[in-house]
Amino acid sequence: MKCEHIEQLIPLYVGGDLEPPEADDLRHHLTGCALCRRLNEEFQASHTWLSTFAVPEFDEASFATLRASVLSQIERQEKRGSWIHWLLPKWNPRLVLAVSTAALVAVTALSVAVYRKQIAPPKKTVGNLVAETGIPVSTGDGQSVTLAENRLSSNGNSTATGGKRRFPGSKTPEPALPEEALNNGGLSFPLEPPVTGPEQAESETTTAVEPEDKEPKEMLRIELQTADPNIRIIWLTPKSAPTESNTK
């Protein structure tokens, strides 16, 4: 055995933690090595010194205080526990946890459902309006088609009707264009480009199409309020007899 190894074993040797063969080897080494023998003596002295660390005498009064304190706390806890048992006789922490989690999930799901309904109101766009009413729109190249007809031709199952249809997803009836507006002059808007983003969708938003009573009877005034409060589209058209294409 080398001294380095012995130095590591001595702390265990002094406490009797070595296996007998190892302890024998160590003792044999100590007989021939003064340095290791000295180290062993120092460890032995330190070990003896540590063992003098006796616990001071605790008097009976301190033990009695300890017991009284423990028992009174237990009694207090049991009283509190019995009150909870009276309130919840089948108290089971796991059951309570499961029920709480289920309730939390249900409330979250309900909140999400309500929130989704609130954030998705039907938007009344010019395109929608035209599509719903079936009034012809100008495509910009001189042709005039109705959006409803477009839909019919593309899907084959559109139900282009008059002004009493509902907006999709809406429970309130769509505001119908006044009869005057439908009958006189008609609406002819440039065909809206396809909506590609929320900004465009918002800019399309209009409020209503209102005839104004104060206008001269021979003119029809239609105002469209866009999402931008500074932009309002005012349409003036003479009240003429409705053409065939307008009333379809």
Binding site: Q8, P11, L12, V14, G15, D17, E42, F43, A45, S46, H47, W49, L50, S51, T52, F53, A54, V55, P56, F58, S62, F63, T65, L66, R67, S69, V70, L71, Q73, I74, E75, E78, P93
Partner: protein
């Protein structure tokens, strides 16, 4: 090793206070301690009082050696017995009650030491000024008693330099006189680990003592 399972259970209790294993009927009632445990489980506080009486000296001794002062030791002992009562249903009566109890005691001492910020050892002078290690000196307690108190304070200081695990290992092994296997069972580790911790602790204590002796000699020469 009888304490292994009890120690593991105590460890489980440490991390999940709600753990309650179904109370199993003990195979034998040979031990009067087991009989007391069974009675205490039914809410018999006088039986639990007897359990405390049977173990209070040992529990408070371990706590005192782990924490270094009487007030903390008493607080730790109180908390230990409260935890024992709380988890009494989780104790397997086939296991050794003392091992389980000491495991809880060590855990309580660790918790208390962390709570009170005892990680870093305080200077001996500060401790002496605070009276943490001073003993009341009666007229009969003469110089030897004072010296003994000082010696005790220095050993407490030496123990304070150890890590939590080393301190627990050396207190249980060298001061409480438990075997390495028993200590391993209480601390929830292996005998090899305990041996290593004890060896390291003994070396540190020796180094501390050597330094202290050297300083004492220097002080005397001045």
């Amino acid at each position: 090793m009888e304490w292994n399972n009890a120690a593991l259970m105590a460890d489980q209790l440490r991390f999940d206070d709600r753990t309650v294993t179904p109370a199993t009927e003990p195979r034998s009632f040979n031990s009067p301690i087991v009989a007391l445990v069974m009675r205490a489980r039914t809410g018999d506080l006088s039986a639990f009082d007897q359990l405390i009486i049977a173990h209070q000296q040992r529990v408070i001794g371990i706590a005192w050696r782990m924490l270094g002062n009487q007030d903390d030791a008493q607080d730790a002992a109180q908390e230990t017995f409260l935890r024992v009562y709380k988890h009494l249903n989780g104790f397997d009566t086939k296991q050794d009650f003392s091992g389980w109890l000491y495991r809880i005691t060590v855990n309580v001492c660790h918790d208390l030491a962390r709570k009170r910020g005892r990680g870093n050892p305080v200077s001996l002078d500060a401790e002496r000024e605070a009276g943490n290690f001073a003993e009341p000196v009666s007229p009969h307690n003469t110089e030897s008693s004072a010296m003994h108190a000082q010696e005790r304070a220095i050993i407490a200081r030496a123990l304070a330099t150890l890590s939590e695990k080393e301190r627990a290992a050396i207190v249980l092994r060298d001061l409480e006189g438990l075997t390495t296997e028993e200590v391993a069972g209480i601390l929830g580790s292996t005998p090899t680990t305990v041996r290593s911790q004890v060896s390291s602790a003994r070396a540190k204590i020796k180094t501390f003592r050597d330094r202290w002796l050297k300083r004492s000699v220097q002080n005397r020469e001045r």
